[in-house]
Structure formats: C-alpha cells, structure tokens
Symmetry: C2
C-alpha cells in the first residue's frame, strides 16, 4: 500500500528514531546550537538555487494549487537553513549556530531497498570561515555518535579544492577530464594510468593524475599531496585540511580520521572541507557534511558556512548491528478494573502517571489471563488487577508478565512498590517520559 | 521567498514547538501510547479512501516520478495510522495505543494568514468501542494542556449520530436538508424557523428542527435532546454521550465540558463522539478528535477506533497570550579563548558539556566587548574569557551579560561555580539538554 522507497516506522523503530533524535538535539544544544523548523514545501526555484543537478533531478515537484508556481517537498535541509540565515536572520550577529531534525524526500532509484524518505538531524554553523568551525562540526558528530554508544566509527575528511586545483593544473581535454573524475571517484588507478598513456603530460602531471586515488590514509597524505600538486589552489586546500586535522588532534579525535584528498562526493555546493562518516560493516555513509561558503549569497548577503547531517535510520541500523539498542519497553503497568465503580482504578492510574510512570488501562472485556498475554505482547512487565474475587477491598493483585504466580499488594503500598519499577528502567522502546 | 501559508520557525518559536511536542509525547507515553512514524508521502488513493471531499480537495498531489501513480503529501495523520493499524499491526492484540507528531499540509484558502502547514501531535486508540475509550482521549487532552500550563480550556463534545438520526426523522427534501444543515452549523435559529414555515412538519418535528442549534450547554442538554428526538439513532447517541460525560465526571473533568448536540464539524470519517478544544480569546479550535469506527475497514479488518490531534502552533499562541511560555534561553555560557593554545579552552568546554551545560565557543576574531554584545543578543547569560592580559594562567574572567563588571575565577573553581548556573535554569528557549 506504500509507494516504493517509503515505509511506516512501527512502535519499536519509531520510538528508537525519536530517542536518537532527542539525544542528538540535546548534544547539539550543548554545543550552543538552536533549532529552526523550515517548511515541508518550498518554491522549487529556491531549492534549485542551491545548485546541484543531482538533487534537482531527485525532487518531488508540483504546481502550487494557489498561484501555480512550482513547489517541491524538502530534499535537503541545508539550502533551507541557508535561506533562513540569509534572510530572516541576516541581522542577527554571527556566528549563527542552527540545527534541525526531520524528514527529507528524494526521488532516488530504489534498487536494493534504498529509501526515498530519509530522517535527518544536523547542524549549520554560519558566519565563520576558520578551520575551527569545520573541526567543531566533526567533533560534534563524533561526540554525538559516541554518546549513543556507536563504536568503530570513522570520518573520511577531504577538501574539494584540492581536486579542483589539480584538474586546473592538469591539461586535460573535457572528455578526458570527465573520465579522470570518474576514475578518481572509483579510486581506479589503472583506469587513470591508461588515460595518462593517451595524453601528452609531463612526468609531474602524470604522477599527480595517477596518484589521486591513493591520496587516502593518515596525516602522511598531506605531505604526499604537497609534493604532487604544485598549484596554489591545491596547496591552500592541503594547508586548510591540515589545520582542521591539527584542531581535531587537540580534541583527541585524530584516531577516528581518515584523510581523503581524492574525494569529490557530496553536494555541489561544497567549497572546502568535506566529510563523511562510516562504521565498519556498512558501506553507506551515516553522515555527511562540509563547508559551503557560496550558498548564502544565493539568498542574501554572502557568508561562509559549514555543517553536517546525520542519517538517523542508517545510524539506528548500525546501533542495532552492534547490539547497542535497548529492547523495546512497553508501559510500566497495565491496570485492570473488575470492580463495579471506576473511581479507584482511574485514581490509581492518575497518581502513578503523576509520578512519571507509563500506565495503560485495560478497558476491554476479557479474562485476566488474556490481559496478561496482551501485556506480554506489548512488553508491559506488570499487570495490576483491582476487584479480583476473594481479594479484600484495600488490596490489589500484581502479576509479573512472563512469570508464574501473583502477589497481593495493599493499595496503600503500591507507590512504595512502584519505586522499584523506576529502578528497573524504561528503555528506549517508548517516548522519553521525563519532561 | 516562501509559498503563501508556509513559514519558517525561527530559534525561539522552533524551540518552543519542540518543547511542547516533547511534553505532549511524554504525556501520551504515560497513558500507554507508543509512537508510529508514517511516511510524508502516500498514494492519493489510500488517503482518499478515508473519505471526506473537503480534505481531498486540500491535498497537494502529484504523479510519482517512479511509476506515475498519484501521490499526496500527508494532510492528516489519522488515515495513515488507521492504515498501519489495519495492515502492519493487524495481528497485534487490541487495543492499540498509537501516537504521532509532525507536520501535515493542506491547501486551504489562505485568508487571514491561515497556514497551509500545521504541526500536530495526537493519539489513536484502536480496538475499543466502549465510551471509556472516548473519555480517555478527552482526559489525555485535558491533562496534557493543563500540564503545559494552559488555562481556561474547554472541550465542546458532541455525537454525530444525534444529528444524523434527527435528519432521518425529519421529512426534509434534499434542498431543505442542505439549508437546514448549514443553519445548524451556524447555530442560526431564525433561518431554521423560516425554513420550518415553508415545510409540512408536525409540531414535534418543527420543535426538533428549530431547537437543534440550542442543544448546547451543560448536562441538561441531554434531557432536552431526549425530549425532542424520538428516533432510536438519536436516542442511542444521547445515551452514548451521557456515558462519556459520566466517566469524565469520575475523572473530575466535567467543569471543562460543554455539550453540543447540534455539531457536525470535523472529519467525514467520524461516526460517534466528536470533540474540539477551545481556549477563551481564540475562535479556532486547538484540537479536534472523535470516534471513527468505519475507517480501518477501508484498509483491512474492521475495528472501532477513537483519537484526537492537537494543533501545536495554536497551542503555542494560546500559551503565549496567557504568558505561560518561558523566555528564550540561549546557551549557558560563551567561552572566548585569547591564549595562543586551544587546549584549555577546548578542554573546559568539553568538561562543562559533559556536565550537561550548553557551551558555545566564540571562534570569531573580535573584541571581548563585541563578544559580550553577541552573547546578549543570543541570550547567553555568561561569557568566560581565557587569556585576558594581566590575568594569571590559572584564572579566567567571567562576565555576566547585561551587567557591568567582571570577576576573576580560578579555573579549578569553575565547576563549583557552574553548579549555580544549573539552578538558574535553562528555560524553554532551547532543546532539552537532558537525555
């Protein structure tokens, strides 16, 4: 019943998505970031102003019934936040630290169950051109993922200006350049060697071209890149990347970094540092980010900017593979009332809720045994029954789901009893119950 | 730059929206509700299966680039949750307690700044036909709104079957019936009297028709309705409404109720109890809900159901008018580093964040005075400066934004100092920083 590439998140997955989203936004807040909520739909023109043929082709677009202008469903938060920063927030003193969370939709090819709706959370740091700003983005990502318990996470960090300078330096005809770019993207050295053999290149130019896919690894990559590329644009890119890496060393995060100067991936609006995050066991990036110093000027005054977005479902998948997710947890207790009056049951439920417990009421007519089975399926660990035959007025019967037997508890002792439930924990399977 | 009826939520408003959303979802969890996340886009057919010409005309629709079937952007969560309940969750034991939060878009006429994007949060209770279920919906709404500090809130509660029975009982030609329905909606008794004069009605039928707009008020409405409408359908509706009111009396909520049997508003899929919530000073409903026992069968096995949705922006507006919102709060502290090395500043920021504080770093080059002005604009109450001239290595200088003077604090004492910040509170102006 659903269009391909779209899905429903059922209670367990939905609760985990909310949990991860809340945790991430809390980390962003601790780094001084404030939320914005851009609209779900925008003028197509505004979104395409961000550039990028790839993303333009992926937009769900249609005419506004009111006025007929073309609209699109949000495919990416960054152009929206850039627009907000360059228009509504243009008079606010810089830097702007803005964050967001929500879905984007992209009409991608849906092979291999690739989704067309992606749940993201991200940050945009606007008004700073210093490498500290890029380093801050990467530090936030790493802190956020560690905080969620994710392990074995690495960041591939590059600088788009390096390759742009290298391709300026290399005298490649347009066709050869396109082939070369594709080979670099695929890290296909032999294709580059074949290509180089067909071209009239100096020894240094040839060395640069065939080495591009290999500019990948630890800090030694920086020196090799400097030896290979003599042009100022590439040199400046290497210097900039080095500065970012130095700051991340001060953060103590260098162990999570892989440098990659043969990288062009990401959005067309990137102008400097770019990065993607990976976890072992999955090929797809869990997050992507980079510097986009020319995006705000398409909506208002120019301003440097850098940011990132995390893919929450890939993050959940990675956490699940690592066993880092708590099992689904239902409500704390199911209350069944067999007494003729409803007062006591409602009052008990209200008092338990006031103390922060999640209380479901069983207001369906069935046997106590069936209710206990219901509780088990919904992962409700306890069932409290009022009015069971033979039980005094001032007592209730407590069943533990999945265990044999039952226990009588005086109504007056329920709240002391309930304190122990709190210690047994709620888990990630439901909304955070704290405000 | 935005399509009419769409808007950006800037930091203060966005943070408040998130805050209210989180609070509401926490209340829903305490009542045993679990989140689902339906997709942003659905097949138009699936959404129109829910019926309702009004909403159908309001959908943003377009062809899926993949396959060409018509899609629409979500205009309403209830049909989506009904579909999920009737398909993916059909084998789960009932009742299902499901909740959601997110935007819906509707192509409404945008006079008087009426938005075309609405942020909602709501619950659906599926599998229960008892009046207790409807009462639970209303009790949750009232508890949630009281928890947010909203005052003077009332629920208008009706039962669509009453009017349906009344119109069956009245021998009205189609044109007259349409006029009568419109007059009832507008509570226009004189239009009904004019209409009645043109029709051949018994004395009792005439009394019923002209009294419909007046069936509004306290519990006495129930008896008047019984005297006026003799048909079994209307009688059953009155009995059902009375049962719901009785249960809400046990909850102690009868003071917030207004009965309204002359009400047809709401979605076409409603089949029983309907309600809307209002706060004095605003004409528009803050929430709406009702019973929809015939919706699930359009997607799978039939099941009774009841639910509601809150409009978060109207809720924020009402809280704002009542002065119930906390002022915007920025980060707890802005750290400025004038020392040549970055280690201490980064380390201090990290340690403060680890204790839950929101710490922004000023990594722009400007004077301390300008940074303090920046902090004031972003509601950051404190500025910590490392490396001010003449200050010993083991001390920092603390400025309080908006106050004169400064104070030297030993680095070693910062964390004790910071405990006092916690007591001064964060406010609603930023993401919740607790996990």
């Amino acid at each position: 019943m659903l269009p391909r590439g779209f899905q429903d998140l059922l209670p367990e997955r939905a609760a985990r998505l909310r949990h991860v989203e809340t945790q991430l936004l809390a980390v962003f807040a601790r780094w001084g970031f404030h939320p914005v909520v851009p609209p779900s739909l925008e003028y197509l023109d505004v979104l395409t102003a961000a550039g990028g043929r790839g993303l333009q082709a992926q937009m769900f677009k249609f005419a506004d019934p009111l006025g007929g202008q073309l609209l699109a469903v949000r495919p990416d938060f960054t152009p929206q936040v850039a627009r907000i920063a360059a228009t509504r927030l243009r008079e606010w003193p810089k830097p702007l630290r803005l964050c967001y969370a929500g879905p984007v939709v992209r009409d991608v090819e849906v092979h291999a169950a690739r989704p067309r709706e992606i749940f993201q959370a991200g940050c945009e740091l606007i008004g700073l051109e210093l490498p500290e700003a890029d380093a801050e983005m990467i530090a936030i990502v790493l802190e956020a993922l560690r905080g969620l318990g994710l392990q074995g996470f690495t960041i591939d960090i590059g600088q788009v200006e390096f390759l742009r300078g290298a391709f300026e330096e290399l005298p490649l005809p347009p066709d050869a350049r396109r082939l070369a770019e594709q080979a670099v993207m695929k890290k296909d050295r032999s294709a580059l060697e074949e290509l180089a053999a067909t071209l009239d290149l100096t020894r240094a130019q040839r060395a640069l071209l065939v080495s591009l896919p290999g500019l990948y690894g630890g800090p030694e990559v920086l020196d090799r890149a400097r030896q290979l590329a003599g042009n100022p644009r590439s040199r400046a890119a290497v210097d900039n990347l080095e500065q970012v890496v130095r700051i991340l060393e001060i953060y103590g995060l260098e162990g999570a970094l892989t440098l990659d100067l043969g990288e062009l991936r990401g959005f067309d609006y990137y102008t400097g540092i770019i990065f993607e995050g990976f976890v072992s066991g999955a090929g797809a990036a869990l997050c992507g980010g980079g510097r986009y110093d020319r995006l705000l000027e398409r909506y208002g005054p120019p301003s440097p900017a850098t940011g990132f977005a995390l893919d929450l479902e890939r993050l959940l998948d990675a956490l699940e593979r690592q066993g880092a997710l708590q099992p689904f947890a239902g409500s704390d207790v199911l209350i069944i009332n067999l007494r003729p009056g409803k007062e006591e049951a409602l009052s008990l439920a209200r008092q338990l809720r006031a103390q922060g417990f999640a209380v479901a009421r069983d207001i369906i007519k069935r046997s106590v045994q069936e209710s206990i089975e219901y509780a088990a399926r919904w992962r409700i660990p306890r069932v409290l029954v009022l009015g069971l035959e033979g039980v005094p007025e001032d007592e209730v019967v407590l069943f533990h789901t999945g265990e044999q037997g039952q226990r009588r508890v005086r109504l007056a002792d329920i709240f002391r009893e309930a304190e122990a439930w709190r210690r047994s924990g709620g888990g990630e399977g439901r909304w955070p119950t704290s405000s």
